[in-house]
Amino acid sequence: MIFRALVIAAYGFLLAPAIFVVAIAFSSDRFLTFPPPGLSLRWFATLFEHEQMMAAMQRSAILAAIVTTLSLAIGVPAAYAIARLRFPGRGAIFAALTAPLLLPTLVVGLGILLVFFPYGLAGTWPGLALAHLAVTLPLVVRIMTTAFATLPPDLEDAAATLGATPLKVAFRITLPLALPGLIAAAALSFLISFDEVVISLFIVGPRLSTLPVEMYRYVEGHTDPMVAALAVVLILLSISVVLLVERLVGFTRTVSK
């Protein structure tokens, strides 16, 4: 009972800010007052007419899609090699690929800025994509290494004895069975890139900026509830991605067991 009460209290503490934000997003007031004096959708309307914010949202979505594609394209084969092949330096490569997970993002961001600036990468698409990859790639490698390592190795061997070339084994056996991990890795990459603010702050330029950075800048200069409305949109987006993944992963689980 006490444990239960504690859990409820912990959730309450974690969710309280979200509840405030949602309430304020529907406020009819011009300021961030709580409780809101009246309810309205006016701040959503303001948001969708705010060209700069909408453009940033589109940029962030494109960036997240590129980052996700790249991290899967690099991370999945790397994870497969680490999980399945025996080669010298395997442990070192795994450590190097996943180490950024352990560093504070501030340190990663500063490091990236120091390296990128001389090459003129700061404030460019490739620069932003590479910076986000520093966060998403380690995650994809970590998730997919586990996904591959937990597949029964006999299945791939069986396919090979039946005449499947290594490429056929990968596409007909390994990847379909690792699909739940693949979906989870893709969704996480997308959400992280879309939400990433700390590293992006170091890299964005005056002409190229992402949605979270725009939000951050907006709050510095304005005190109206439009950012709260934007926060609600982002929360809905995250929830729908998570639900979609849940559906897909739950689905593939039942298909492949």
């Binding site: 006999d154 061997d157 069986a158 090979a160 004895t161 039946l162 005449g163 499947a164 298909v255």
Partner: protein, 341 residues
């Protein structure tokens, strides 16, 4: 459908003593050869080398006229039935069985016909659209077998594929595997640690110990004329008497540093006072009486060490015999083998 020859096959994992150590073995075309040995003696490693899943450190593998030692797995055309079955969980039985044919590029119509044929042979008709998790252990085993034979392999390898089944099903499957193998005349290597299984279904048995073949022969040869002490004690039950001792063997009297061996069912049980027959005898006291199926084993403590005799359960000889009772044991020198200890 080809002759298999393994020559000096060797594989060591890391620094441990080699799992397979200079193994030489041949299976004739169409032969059903059992590879029999205790767990850990290197049977699976041998099969995996033949299939191409583990590279050999040394030695050659020949299949038919071809040297396949370095051939990639997917080009070998060898069917392997895994101990774990290794069925693809995301495909139904038809998908599993047809996978190899699809990889070989067999056209769809022919593929369907051959899958249906494999389903029929393994008595899986009507279960083709079930996924592995919807099948019982015995049915999964059949799918694994059907999948391996559907590709019409040049060689069929079976790795302890019956050991996860219950006793009755296991016996049934033995016969079916034998029939399927005979009908297709496929050379087959059947790996098992179960001597009854090996002796009952195979043409030839190769007994493996510590990565090598100790003896290769028909079940009768292996049982009646074991070539080494290991084969003698691994196959069937055996009494062992360490020399020197007053025991005559086939090869002469038992000396120091030698061991005499005689099967319990060759040892006669004598009631007290009966005259000893045969050229070896010992007297002792009963230690234990055990039923083994329809025979009864009487273990006795004798000056030569513990000795066991087996008699039919119907025999009057053991009736009324109690632990602690005095008994005589007698056996012939022609049934007594001698090995260096």
């Amino acid at each position: 459908m080809a002759r298999l020859a393994l020559e000096g096959l060797t594989k060591a994992y890391g620094t441990a003593p080699p799992a397979v150590d200079g193994l030489t073995l041949e299976a004739e075309e169409g032969e059903f050869l059992a590879l029999l040995g205790p767990s850990g003696c290197g049977k699976t490693t041998t099969l995996r080398m033949v299939a191409g899943l583990v590279p050999a450190d040394r030695g050659r593998i020949r299949l038919g006229e071809e040297d396949i030692t370095a051939a990639p797995v997917h080009t070998r055309g060898i069917g392997l039935v895994f101990q774990s079955y290794a069925l693809f969980p995301h495909m139904d039985a038809v998908g599993n069985i047809g996978f190899g044919l699809e990889m070989q590029g067999v056209p769809k119509a022919e593929r369907q016909a051959r899958v249906a044929e494999a389903l029929r042979l393994t008595r899986l008709e009507g279960l083709g659209h079930r996924r592995p998790r919807e099948l019982s252990g015995g049915q999964q085993q059949r799918v694994a077998l059907a999948r391996a034979i559907a590709i019409r392999p040049r060689l069929l390898l079976l790795d302890e594929c019956l050991s996860n089944l219950d006793a009755k099903l296991r016996e049934e499957m033995r016969g079916e595997i034998r029939d399927i193998q005979r009908a297709s005349a496929t050379t087959a290597l059947f790996v098992t640690h179960d001597q009854t299984e090996a002796l009952s279904i195979c043409d030839t048995v190769a007994v493996m110990h510590r990565g090598r073949i100790e003896q290769r022969g028909t079940p009768e040869e292996i049982y009646e004329r074991p070539a080494t002490r290991f084969v003698a004690s691994f196959i069937g039950r055996m009494n062992a008497i360490d020399g020197p001792a007053p025991v005559m063997t086939r090869e002469g009297p038992l000396g120091a540093g030698e061991t005499a061996m005689v099967r319990p069912h060759r040892v006669r049980l004598l009631r007290e006072g009966a005259a000893a027959e045969g050229d070896n005898a010992a007297s002792g006291t009963v230690r234990r009486i055990t039923y083994i199926g329809d025979i009864v084993q009487v273990q006795a403590a004798t000056p030569l060490g513990p000795l066991a005799a087996e008699v039919s359960g119907a025999s009057p000889l053991w009736r009324g015999l109690d632990v602690g009772a005095p008994v005589g044991l007698a056996w012939s020198s022609s049934d007594t083998l001698r090995f260096p200890a």
